[in-house]
Amino acid sequence: MDILSFVNLIFNGLLLGGLFALTAFGLSVFAGIMRVINIAHGDFAILAAYLAFSIIDFLKIDPFLSLLIVAPIMFVIGYLFQKFTINRVLPMGANQPVLVTFALSIVIQNLLLLLFTADARSLITPYLLTNIELFGLNPSPRYAAGFISALIVFAAIFIFFKKTYLGKAMRAVPFDSEAAKMIGIKSDVVYNYAAGLAMLVVAIAGVLLGITFTFYPDTGPVYVLLSFGVVVMGGLGSLKGSLVGGFIMGEALVLGGFFFGSRFQLMFCYLVILIILYIKPQGLFGGRV
């Protein structure tokens, strides 16, 4: 293994990290605004990937184009999910939303198993399998697609939160819900839209995950655990933190694969998350939305 291939590995880890950051954004928005860790997060991403799979199969279109249909559907799913489940159990204490999202995760997994069987699926298209050369490095086009999408989504959410009324309202409610109520912000309506937004981002992440990796109905938990690690590293609800956490997670995955082999890659990542949780339960960087 020469130095160039190692640099190449690190570079691809960085690109992959972008994809992980993108995957974690939805969880981060959810945690930052609703103060709920959505355990079904990964399963929603896989649901989006299966939706895209069906649409691509039916309309024979490009995976990126399928987002035009998948993203609005996921927005509506997120809105309804918040309205009819999470909003109802939020007053029942902190543990109820955990159980509700956990039960939902099981429902989504088994629904997908019933509809799509346990076969491996992928959204890969031929042009994403070509070899690119950039300054002597070989970035994976799939990882690069995830990385670029992550930056675009990050910028879009950032502008949305800073510039629009709804975005500001979404930041106001977790900051001080009483004051927000006083100036006429209905927190449950804001929550519905925030969940819709989170699921829209999850849809983008799901399609890119589907392009990058094969997926099964029960792949969801892998992504919720990795996203949780990313969110914890970056501090709950901090999007910038999630971006940095994503990069760390990407490197952890490629380096884990490099040093311990692909069998122990995922286990190594999980251990890294557990160790970070142990030393710093509040996250490495801390911070707000």
Partner: protein, 316 residues
């Protein structure tokens, strides 16, 4: 005063308890093999759900990693019996204690975490252990173990340990609820910071509770493997164990002793009705749990006891 009241209250029921126990002990002598199987499952799920529900409802410890102890209890039993020649039932008991020890060790990293962090921490730990067993050649890696020594054990013989664990779990929940430790746990469940401020050693309380609950779960895992005689990492450490315990606990009413009786009955019946369709039963379980959590969070037993104005001593 309260102590006396409790003793008097219990003495009135002693006759009933003895009759009930005699009835339960005689069951395998006159029910068929099919029902005996169902009863074993009933008591195993009852035991695991009793302690899971107690932890979740009263101490606020929502573990999504009880499959760790189902798996470790099962593997420890098989390994002790097959590799080291321990007698079968001694292996079961040592496996239970081993699982409790593991829970004690895991408390140190995991119980530093609160609320949902703990829940995800346990889930992470379970996945790490599953992936580890998946490539651990000593226990057959992904292929798993066939527990030949348990082939000869009849279901009648498995019924009694299952019954014993079920009864043990009920006593544990009752005494946990009314002991000093239980008061500490209930205060933690209500408000952890306030409890800590009032001098409750929150870590020790939670770790004791987690360890005792995991002792029961490990014993359940151990007896379960004697019953099923086969183990592999994917099924032994499957999250569906915790889903099942959640279902059994929540449907009847988590944190009550009677609730899981209802839950376990429904679970076992559902299991037989849907035995042909594995995915379908989990889907249905998830939907029912979701509906119960949203519509009747106190569970079926909670609603019944409220409607009929039944006043039982908590945690019944």
């Amino acid at each position: 005063m309260e102590e006396e009241f409790r003793m008097a209250n219990l003495k009135n029921y002693y006759t009933y308890i003895v009759i009930a126990l005699a009835f339960l002990a005689s069951l395998p002598l006159w029910v068929g093999g099919f029902l005996r199987d169902a009863l074993i499952l009933f008591f195993l799920y009852l035991a695991a759900a009793e302690v899971w529900g107690f932890m979740a409802k009263h101490a606020g410890i929502v573990s999504l990693g009880q499959q760790i102890f189902m798996g470790v209890g099962g593997y420890a039993t098989a390994v002790l019996c097959m590799y080291y020649g321990f007698p079968l039932w001694a292996s079961v008991i040592i496996a239970g204690l081993f699982g409790a020890g593991l829970a004690g060790v895991l408390s140190f990293p995991l119980l530093r975490l609160r609320g949902v962090y703990f829940s995800i921490g346990t889930f992470l730990a379970a996945e790490i252990i599953r992936l580890f067993f998946n490539s651990w050649e000593f226990v057959g890696a992904g292929k798993g173990l066939i527990f030949k020594d348990a082939y000869a054990i009849s279901t009648t013989l498995i019924y009694y340990p299952a019954l014993a664990i079920g009864i043990l779990s009920i006593f544990l929940v009752y005494f946990l609820y009314h002991s000093k430790l239980g008061f500490g746990l209930r205060s933690i469940g209500a408000d952890e910071d306030a409890a800590s401020g009032l001098g409750v050693n929150t870590f020790r309380c939670k770790a004791s509770c987690f360890t005792l609950a995991s002792l029961i779960t490990s014993l359940v895992g151990a007896v379960n493997v004697v019953h099923h005689t086969y183990l592999n990492p994917t099924s032994a450490f499957s999250i569906s164990w915790t889903v099942n315990f959640l279902f059994v606990a929540v449907i009847g009413g988590a944190g009550t002793i009677i609730g899981p009786f209802i839950g376990s009955t429904i679970f076992v019946a559902l299991g037989y009705l849907l035995s042909q369709y594995l995915g379908l039963s989990l889907l249905l379980e998830g939907l029912v749990v979701l509906a119960i959590l949203i519509a009747i969070p106190e569970g079926v037993w909670g609603v019944i006891s409220r409607k009929l104005k039944v006043k039982l001593k908590p945690p019944f």
